[in-house]
C-alpha cells in the first residue's frame, strides 16, 4: 500500500501517453473510456488509502528509494487526502460528462491535469511541487480552448498570468534554496526559523513572492481577471474542474507552505482575513451585475474563495474547520452549478440570464439542480453550504470579529439575489413554448448521473455534517495539533 501515492500520480500519466497514441488510430472513439478507466483506478486507489489516513496515519513513498533530504518524497496526509479526494471525484465526473462530446487528445490532457493535481498535493519537495504545478497549469491553459473563438484569448490571458505566477513562485523557491540549501519540506520546516533570526527580510521577500503567485492562481481580488474569462468560455466539464479543483490548488499550497511550514513570528492572519474579505465583497458585487450565466458563476467562485480565505485568516481551529469544509462543499456545489448551467446552455443555446426567461425547452432536472445548487451556495439549512458558512461565521463571532460575521451574512443575501434572479428566469411560465418547436437536443442520461452524484453529495454532507467533518479532521489536526 505504500506505493499507492506514486501509482495514483503515474497511472494517469501513462494512460495519457497511450491515449494520445490511440487517438491517431481508428480506435479513437475509445479514448474516453480508457481515460475513464484510468481515472477510476486512480480514484479507487485514493479511496483505498482512506481508512488508514483517517485513522491518523501518514503514507510516505520515496521515489527511487532515495531517503528524505536527497530524493523526492511523496507523502499522503490528511490535507493531501482531502484535496486528492475532491480532485478524483471532480475529474471522474468531468470525464463521464465529456464522454459523448469530446474525443482523442482532450482526454489525455484531462489525465495530465489530474496527474499534476495529485502530484502537487502529494509531493514533499518544493521544486517538484513547482514542476507538477506547471504540468497542471499548461494542460489547463490548453483545455480552456473550446469551439468558441473567444476562448482563445481567454486561454492566452490565463497563460500570461499563470506563467507569471509560477515564475514568481520559482524565484521564491530559488531564494529559499540559496538560504537553506534544500528543497525538502521537512528539512525546510526546521531551517526556516533559524534563518528567520538572521535574515528576516529574505524570508519576507519569499513570502511576498509566494503570496502574489498564489493570489493570481486562486483568483483573489486584484489578480482575478483571468477567472471570469477562463471559467465562462471553457467547455462545461473544464469550468467545473477550474472552479472546483484548480482554484483550490492555490489555497492548498498556501495552507501547506504558510501554515504547516513557515511558522515565523510574523502573523499573516490579518492580511489573509482582509484579503479574503475584499475578494468576497468584490466577487459578490460583480456577480450581481453579470449578464452571462457562466460569468456570474465565475464571480461567485471569487466570492467563495474569499470566504474560504476568511476562515483561514481567523486563525482558530473552528475557522480552519469551516474553511476546509467549505473548500470541499464548494467543489461539490460549484460542480453541480456549472454542470447544470452547461446543460441549460446546451439545450437552449442561450447564455444570457435575461434570455433564459420563459424558456420551456429547458429540461426539468437541470433547472431543479440549479435551484438546489443555488440554495446550497447561499447557505440554506438542509444543504452542505449552510454547515460550512455557519462554522466560519461562528469562528468569526468567537474571535469577536462581528463585522466579519455580519459581512459574511450580508453577502449570503447578495448571493441569494444574484442566484435567485436566474432561478426566477428559469422557472418562469413558458409562454413561447407552443410557438417554438421543441428543438432541444435530448441530454444523455449519463450526464444526469454526474449532476445527481454531486447533488446527492451536497444533500448527504448537509444532513450528516459529522461525516464531512470526520473527513477533514486529520487535515485540521495537521495545522492545529
Amino acid at each position: 500500500m505504500s506505493n499507492f501515492p506514486i501509482l495514483i500520480v503515474a497511472l494517469p500519466l501513462c494512460f495519457a501517453f497511450f491515449i494520445s497514441l490511440l487517438s491517431l488510430t481508428k480506435l479513437n472513439r475509445f479514448c474516453g473510456h480508457l481515460a475513464l478507466l484510468s481515472v477510476g483506478v486512480s480514484f479507487v486507489l485514493t479511496l483505498c488509502l482512506g481508512p488508514r489516513i483517517l485513522a491518523g496515519e501518514k503514507i510516505a513513498y520515496s521515489l527511487g528509494n532515495w531517503p528524505a533530504p536527497l530524493g523526492i518524497n511523496l507523502l499522503v496526509d490528511g490535507l493531501s487526502y482531502l484535496l486528492s479526494l475532491i480532485f478524483g471525484l471532480l475529474v471522474l465526473l468531468s470525464v463521464i460528462y465529456s464522454l459523448e462530446d469530446h474525443k482523442g487528445k482532450y482526454f489525455s490532457l484531462v489525465l495530465i491535469l489530474y496527474a499534476g493535481m495529485n502530484g502537487v498535493v502529494f509531493t514533499r519537495d518544493l521544486f517538484n511541487l513547482y514542476v507538477f504545478w506547471e504540468i497542471l497549469s499548461i494542460s489547463a491553459y490548453i483545455l480552456v480552448v473550446s469551439p468558441q473563438p473567444a476562448s482563445l484569448r481567454a486561454s492566452l490571458l490565463y497563460l500570461f498570468l499563470g506563467s507569471l505566477a509560477t515564475a514568481l513562485f520559482l524565484l521564491g523557491v530559488g531564494i529559499i534554496y540559496a538560504l537553506a540549501g534544500t528543497f525538502d519540506m521537512d528539512a525546510l520546516a526546521r531551517e526556516i526559523p533559524v534563518i528567520w533570526r538572521t535574515q528576516p527580510l529574505a524570508i519576507l521577500l519569499v513570502g511576498a513572492l509566494f503570496l502574489v503567485s498564489l493570489g493570481i492562481k486562486s483568483g483573489l481580488f486584484p489578480m482575478y481577471v483571468w477567472v471570469p474569462e477562463a471559467h465562462s468560455l471553457a467547455p462545461t466539464p473544464i469550468s467545473v474542474l477550474l472552479s472546483g479543483a484548480v482554484l483550490k490548488i492555490g489555497i492548498y499550497i498556501f495552507i501547506r507552505l504558510f501554515l504547516t511550514l513557515f511558522r515565523t513570528e510574523v502573523s499573516l492572519e490579518g492580511l489573509i482575513l482582509y484579503w479574503g474579505l475584499i475578494s468576497m465583497v468584490f466577487g459578490g458585487c460583480l456577480a450581481l451585475v453579470q449578464e452571462d450565466l457562466k460569468r456570474m458563476l465565475a464571480y461567485s467562485s471569487i466570492n467563495q474563495v474569499g470566504l474560504i480565505l476568511i476562515g483561514i485568516g481567523l486563525g482558530t481551529k473552528l475557522g480552519m474547520e469551516g474553511s476546509l469544509y467549505h473548500l470541499f462543499n464548494h467543489a461539490l456545489i460549484k460542480g453541480s452549478l456549472f454542470f447544470s448551467a452547461g446543460m441549460i446552455i446546451e439545450s437552449t443555446g442561450k447564455r444570457r440570464i435575461r434570455e433564459l426567461k420563459g424558456n420551456g425547452i429547458v429540461p426539468f432536472f437541470p433547472r431543479f439542480s440549479f435551484l438546489m445548487g443555488a440554495l446550497a451556495i447561499i447557505g440554506v439549512p438542509p444543504l452542505n453550504g449552510f454547515i460550512s458558512k455557519w462554522l466560519i461565521c461562528r469562528a468569526a463571532v468567537e474571535r469577536g470579529n462581528l463585522i466579519v460575521a455580519a459581512l459574511i451574512l450580508i453577502f449570503g443575501i447578495v448571493a441569494a439575489v444574484y442566484y435567485l434572479k436566474v432561478v426566477q428566469n428559469l422557472f418562469s411560465v413558458a409562454k413561447m413554448c407552443q410557438t417554438e418547436k421543441r428543438q432541444s437536443s435530448s441530454i444523455p442520461w449519463i450526464k444526469y448521473t454526474c449532476l445527481g452524484t454531486l447533488l446527492g453529495g451536497s444533500l448527504v454532507f448537509g444532513l450528516l455534517p459529522s461525516q464531512g467533518l470526520y473527513l477533514i479532521r486529520e487535515a485540521v489536526a495537521l495545522i492545529f495539533p
Binding site: 514542476v131 499548461i138 482563445l152 492566452l156 497563460l159 500570461f160 515564475a167
Partner: protein, 110 residues
C-alpha cells in the same frame, strides 16, 4: 555579479510582460523573465575554482550540481509555454487580424 544580471533580466522580462502592447513581445518578455530565473539558479550552484561534480577519486571540491539539473526542467517547461503561447497567438491573429493586447480584454468580440 551574475545574480545582479539575473535580477536585471528578470525585471526587463517583467517590464516586457506588463508594458508591451504586442502579444509576441509579451511572450518574449516571459522568456526573458524565465531566463533571468534560470541564470539566478545557475549562479547559486556556481563557485569559482571548483570542478565539475564527477565523483572520482581525488576530486573533492565540486560545484553544487542540483540547480543545473533543475534548470534543465525549467528550460523545457519554458519551451512548452512559449510554443503554446505562440500557437494560440497564431490562431488569435487568424481570427482578429491583430496582435494588439486589447484583444485580451475582449474588445470587438461577438
Amino acid at each position: 555579479m551574475s545574480d545582479k544580471i539575473a535580477l536585471t533580466l528578470f525585471l526587463i522580462g517583467l517590464y516586457g510582460l506588463i508594458a508591451k502592447k504586442n502579444l509576441i513581445k509579451k511572450v518574449m518578455g516571459l522568456n526573458i523573465l524565465t531566463s533571468g530565473i534560470v541564470l539566478f539558479f545557475i549562479s547559486l550552484g556556481y563557485e569559482k575554482g571548483l570542478t565539475a561534480p564527477i565523483m572520482e577519486k581525488g576530486i573533492t571540491d565540486v560545484v553544487d550540481p542540483l540547480p543545473q539539473a533543475l534548470m534543465l526542467t525549467t528550460i523545457v517547461i519554458g519551451v512548452c509555454i512559449t510554443a503554446l503561447a505562440l500557437s494560440l497567438i497564431v490562431r488569435i491573429y487568424r481570427r482578429y487580424s491583430s496582435l494588439d493586447v486589447k484583444i485580451l480584454t475582449g474588445e470587438g468580440d461577438e
